[in-house]
């Protein structure tokens, strides 16, 4: 486009590209503006350098998270009444009340795991089956109505799910059984399950749909029913993506904050009873940051140690998910 030839005799032929819009023509003309080669090369380098800086920013973020959490956690363990052995060995977490403070992380981890297990056992099977339905069974028209419903669920703020747990799920559970208190793990777990359901479903569906059509056709040709094809052929082929989706959803459930802060309660205890009140790691952090604990005190610093623990847990889950995606991806091209 650098050279434009004027040829009056053949005017109609020169106004070629009649389909391109005026904006496209302007873009193309600007691209061809003659400029010194060195100026252009300089501009290129400058822009690429700026983009590289932007890309480095994300590494800076991770590094800062790790450094801040590590530094404050070390500060926490430097307090005389805290030891690493107690943190990982004791089963009592009682930093705020009573004469003697206890910092054993296990009650908080137990609360987190209980809520996550309830959420997972609700969302993972339902999400996976719904994904199978959307990708293998549903007609385009049903897909066109169900996908937006799932997208809406995915966009609803977590505090709304917390409100829902508190005002709808908990009263419903109390109708079923008087064992459920005003705050319980079941209600928070179910709400968290609803929250991660769209993640499980849409990510699993993506990975099911990326299985090539030829595999399905082959299985149908061998006489398989739709059930045989989807469960015995498509599902195994997409398994790495589905496991990665599950792990992502679980790490979301572990890190979920507002639902558990509203509906799970505030008693840190080791229990497997879904009707009991539990405190999760995130709920403890909310309690500290909302409370009036002095910023230099041992209680305040303990929230950083809990955050570091939380970061490590989700980090490990994400890394496992990534490794599974890389190692076990089936290539069918």
């Amino acid at each position: 486009m650098g050279i434009r030839v004027r040829c009056p005799a053949r005017e109609p032929a020169v106004t070629a590209l009649p389909t391109t819009s005026s904006t496209q023509q302007r873009d193309l003309r600007r691209l061809g503006t003659p400029k010194s080669v060195s100026a252009r090369a300089f501009r290129e380098r400058l822009i690429v350098a700026c983009l590289a800086v932007a890309a480095t920013f994300s590494i800076l973020v991770t590094t800062t998270i790790v450094v801040v959490l590590a530094k404050e956690t070390v500060g926490f363990f430097a307090f005389p009444d805290v030891t690493v052995g107690e943190f990982f060995g004791s089963t009592e977490w009682n930093p705020l009340l009573g004469a003697e403070k206890h910092f054993g992380i296990w009650p908080l981890i137990s609360g987190t795991v209980l809520v996550t297990v309830i959420a997972g056992s609700f969302a993972l099977p339902i999400g996976l089956i719904a994904a199978l339905y959307l990708s293998e069974y549903a007609s385009p028209r049903i897909r066109a109505t169900l996908k937006p419903a799932l997208e809406i669920l995915a966009g609803i703020p977590t505090v709304v799910y917390g409100f829902f747990a508190l005002t709808v799920i908990t009263p419903a559970l109390q109708k079923l059984s008087p064992a459920f208190g005003n705050y319980n793990a079941m209600s928070a777990g179910l709400a968290t399950g609803i929250m991660i359901l769209p993640i499980v479903c849409s990510l699993s569906e993506d990975s099911l749909r990326s299985v090539p059509r030829s595999l399905r056709d082959g299985a149908f040709a061998l006489g398989g029913t739709r059930f045989d094809v989807s469960v015995k052929v498509v599902l195994p082929a997409a398994l790495s993506g589905i496991v990665a989706a599950f792990l992502l959803a679980i790490s979301r459930a572990i890190g979920e904050t507002m639902i558990v802060a509203l509906a799970a309660g505030g008693i840190a205890q080791i229990t497997a009873n879904p009707a009991a009140e539990v405190q999760t790691m995130t709920a403890y952090m909310v309690q500290i940051f909302l409370g009036d604990a002095p910023a230099t005190g041992v209680e305040y610093k303990s929230s950083y140690a809990v955050a570091a623990m939380l970061f490590v847990m989700t980090f490990v889950l994400t890394m496992i998910g990534q490794a599974i995606l890389r190692r076990f991806r089936e290539e069918y091209d």
């Binding site: 486009m1 873009d27 600007r30 691209l31 501009r43 290129e44 690429v48 983009l51 590289a52 890309a55 920013f57 590494i59 973020v61 800062t64 801040v68 959490l69 099977p125 339902i126 089956i129 719904a130 339905y133 069974y137 549903a138 169900l146 809406i152 669920l153 966009g155 609803i156 703020p157 977590t158 505090v159 709304v160 799910y161 409100f163 829902f164 508190l166 005002t167 609803i194 359901l197 029913t225 739709r226 059930f227 989807s230 015995k232 992502l248 790490s251 979301r252 890190g255 904050t257 507002m258 802060a261 509203l262 995130t282 952090m285 909310v286 940051f289 955050a307 970061f311 980090f315 994400t318």
Partner: protein
């Protein structure tokens, strides 16, 4: 298959599975319906125009969401203005300019990790890095370094404290991975023949990106950006770490103003024992969901209007 089964039993299992599928899928739809109906049931009665224009109050009947609504708008605007250029820039670098080097692989894995970090951890990062600036400038806000006058909207104070600017930057950290991943997917969907064509005409790499690839990817980027922003509007845990639950009685005036945000106001009201506060929490949720559906609606419209097949 090693086992031989009767056709009848195979057809039966097929049918049974179809019904399981239908039930599971309908659970999601029913849950969504129950959620929306219950919130409208509780909140519709107290939703009036004065609810939107009033400030917070200790009496539920007089309380309103003016300050949190304006706070949310300020924080999300700052968040979007920083996150979009930074995220799109990172994605362009990763997709268009970098070879498959060790550096890009580290950046890519790192972004995946950042996407999985709980948002409350970002709150701690924002508190340390933006609000307190690692304690490098002292902890007392009276001794802070200031730029500009308090009347101008760009009034700056270092460290930022729990201000609108610190809040927006913290939310930016949360949605940055979302923006990057969405933009990368949009760029990957642009056929490489377009790039080759531009290069063959003598365009430099950046000219190709700016003039050809980026315009073709705009619908995808816009959709991703809007979904990221709708996440930012609803995100409350990181800002809870940053500022706690502030009882704010004025709308933000400059970058250093204190602020409340809508989701935290909802959290505050929902956590109280009185039923009257639950009702106005539901009203606030209706406003929040209205904003959210507006955003999602725009995203869907853009997807339908702008997404033409990429063949010229």
């Amino acid at each position: 298959m090693a086992t031989t089964r009767s056709t009848a039993s195979r057809v039966f299992s097929d049918r049974a599975f179809l019904w399981t599928c239908l039930i599971a899928t309908n659970v999601a739809v029913v849950v969504l319906a129950v959620l929306l109906v219950s919130i409208f049931w509780q909140g519709w009665g107290t939703l009036e125009w004065s609810f939107i224009t009033n400030f917070a109050s200790r009496k539920p009947a007089e309380a309103g969401i003016r300050a949190p609504l304006m706070g949310s708008i300020w924080v999300c605007t700052i968040c979007g203005l920083v996150a979009l250029p930074l995220g799109v820039g990172t994605a362009i670098f990763l997709e268009e300019f970098s070879r498959k080097s060790r550096f890009t692989r580290i950046v890519q894995t790192n972004i995946m990790n950042l996407a999985g970090v709980p948002s409350i951890v970002y709150g701690i990062l924002g508190l340390t890095a933006f609000a307190r600036m690692f304690g490098a400038f002292g902890t007392n806000t009276d001794e802070a370094i200031t730029f500009g006058s308090e009347e101008s909207f760009w009034y700056l104070r270092i460290p930022f404290g729990s201000s609108v600017l610190a809040g927006g930057l913290t939310l930016m950290l949360v949605i940055l991975p979302v923006v990057i991943i969405a933009t990368q997917e949009a760029l990957r969907a642009v056929p490489s023949s377009l790039r080759s064509g531009a290069m063959a005409l003598g365009a430099t790499p950046w000219q190709t990106v700016w003039g050809i690839t980026l315009p073709a990817a705009v619908p995808g980027i816009m959709t991703g950006a809007i979904l990221a922003m709708s996440r930012a509007i609803g995100e409350s845990a990181p800002l809870l770490v940053l500022g706690g639950l502030l009882f704010v009685l004025n709308t933000p005036e400059n970058l250093m103003s204190d602020f409340a945000i809508l989701p935290l106001q909802i959290y505050n009201w929902a956590g109280r024992p009185q039923d009257d506060f639950h009702l106005i929490a539901a009203s606030a949720i209706i406003v929040q969901l209205a904003v959210l559906f507006l955003f999602n609606g725009i995203a869907v419209l853009i997807r339908q209007k702008l997404q033409k097949p990429l063949q010229y």
